[in-house]
């Protein structure tokens, strides 16, 4: 009886202690799979090829991270608003989904150091008089719901006190609305804007100007308390730049030129 009680006690104690020992980094390595949330209607960061396979900068980035961990990668398609529910409910381990590292969001999720930085461009439909970004004042503008540029643009429209802001559900709908004339202008990353103007899928649009925001630094995200994983991701991002893989991926998905500097002079991270 006594020994049975003792055994039960030991069992209970290990059951309580177990979750504290293995953190997410251990779990990923033990399970052999890294599950990444990636947004797949956000070229060139994430999209699908002709045979419907996920491709893009973020997809490669997830594959690299999985390779570094020695596990296989599983790409879980997500939308921008769905990133957090997927993380919290344990459907994915990390989100490699161009997530802007705002202070407001950092209260909820854990950010790595930036792994990419976007510049944003103002895209207008042809036939609309627009010389600079400030001409968006009073116009009907829109952007992809839940993105950094949408939050910025809506703030501007409120500040101007005229015009209208419309958040569409995905990048494709924004550009469809723009080429149909539902929108006069949008703000999107330079990468996305150039890809869409070049592809010719959306007729009658032109890039007008750069949007005057600070570069939109984006980071990998996971649960806030997973310091082990966050530390690992920080070193991984550092190594991606150090080994030249960052520049290589930039060339592959974005094009010629220098990828954005991920350091900010004059301050520690």
């Amino acid at each position: 009886m006594k020994s049975a009680l003792f055994t039960a006690g030991i069992l209970a104690a290990t059951a309580v202690a177990m979750p504290a020992q293995a953190d997410k980094l251990d779990d990923i390595i033990a399970s052999g799979t890294l599950r990444c949330a990636v947004v797949l209607d956000f070229p060139p960061m994430g999209s699908r090829d002709e045979s419907n396979n996920p491709i893009g900068f973020d997809v490669d980035y997830c594959n690299d991270l999985a390779a570094a961990l020695g596990v296989s990668a599983e790409i879980v398609e997500t939308t921008f608003p769905e990133r957090i529910p997927s993380l919290m409910s344990g459907r994915v381990d990390v989100a490699v989904a161009s997530t802007s590292d705002t202070l407001e969001r950092a209260k909820t999720v854990g950010f790595s150091i930036p792994y990419y930085a976007f510049e944003n461009a103002v895209v207008a439909r042809e036939g609309i008089e627009m010389a600079s970004w400030e001409d968006m004042k009073g116009k009907t503008v829109g952007a992809t719901a839940g993105t950094y540029e949408a939050i910025w643009l809506e703030g501007k429209v409120k500040e101007w006190g005229e015009g209208q802001f419309r958040p569409y559900q995905n990048q494709a709908d924004v550009f469809l609305a723009l080429s149909q004339g539902q929108l006069d202008a949008t703000v999107a990353t330079v990468e996305v804007s150039e890809a869409n103007v070049k592809s010719g899928n959306f007729g009658g649009i032109k890039i007008v100007d750069k949007a005057p925001m600070v570069p939109d630094y984006v980071a990998l995200i996971t649960l806030r308390e997973e310091y082990g994983l966050i530390n690992y991701m920080n070193l991984f991002i550092n190594q991606q730049v150090r080994t030249g893989r960052y520049a290589e991926l930039y060339k592959k998905w974005v094009g010629e030129g220098e990828p954005a500097d991920l350091t900010i002079p004059g301050v520690y991270r």
Binding site: I84, M88, E104, A145, A150, E154, R166, D173, L176, Q180
Partner: protein
């Protein structure tokens, strides 16, 4: 495994904005019902008219409204019509989409109600010298509306819940739009959507209860 610490105070700070959104949601639902009922009465008349063109219009409307997703209907109002150069604001697209859907379903409700009214009533009214339209308006329609009153409240609840589909046409002032925008900014997904769900529940509860009270008053014999 659910790894999340609930922080209600932060989310509750946004309650005033969400309640404003709830007002817009109710406004759209009520307007879409008023428009939907009017069109449904018209379509019912079309159906009774025996004119092949009018019957065809009513049948097509009901077929499309009932057999395609409401999401698709709203999307088509916004992006489909824009293909023909008709640009509707998100608010109008959503309102028209829901009204279109309501009209289709309500026409079917009215048909069911009509079946419950004996033909002899029309004949009796006609033999009193009423024109067909008079007979419909004075004898048949009041009974039709009474019989289909509860299914109509059902549709009203559905209309309220359908407003959340406005997201696909960039609607951002209704309850769902306001909530998802707050979510993008703060990432407090679970609190915000829980609050939104409670508000939706309360709105529909208030609507169904007041409809029941109204029915008790209106349809006393």
């Amino acid at each position: 495994m659910f790894n999340y610490t609930f922080r209600w105070n932060q989310a509750l700070n946004s309650l005033p904005q969400m309640l404003e959104g709830a007002l817009v949601t109710m406004e759209i639902a009520i307007l879409s019902m008023v428009i939907g009922i009017s069109i449904a009465i018209l379509l019912t008349l079309f159906r009774l008219s025996r004119n092949p063109l009018l019957v065809g219009i009513a049948a097509t409307w009901v077929e499309i409204a009932r057999n395609t997703p409401a999401l698709f209907q709203i999307y088509m109002v916004h992006f489909g019509l824009a293909g023909f150069g008709i640009h509707l604001s998100p608010y109008l697209s959503l309102l028209i989409g829901i009204a279109f859907n309501n009209a289709g379903y309500l026409t079917e409700n009215f048909r069911g109600a009509l079946k419950a009214i004996p033909d002899t009533q029309t004949r009796a009214a006609r033999s009193l010298g009423m024109t067909p339209l008079q007979a419909f308006r004075n004898v048949i329609m009041p009974q039709m509306l009474r019989i289909s009153f509860l299914p109509m409240t059902n549709q009203m609840v559905w209309a309220i819940l359908m407003t959340s589909l406005g997201a696909v046409v960039a609607m951002n002032t209704d309850l769902y739009g306001v909530t998802s925008e707050l979510n993008a900014r703060t990432f407090r997904t679970f609190e915000l959507f829980a609050i939104a769900a409670v508000i939706f529940y309360l709105i529909t509860k208030v609507i169904t209860l007041s409809a029941r009270l109204l029915a008790a008053r209106l349809f006393r014999y």
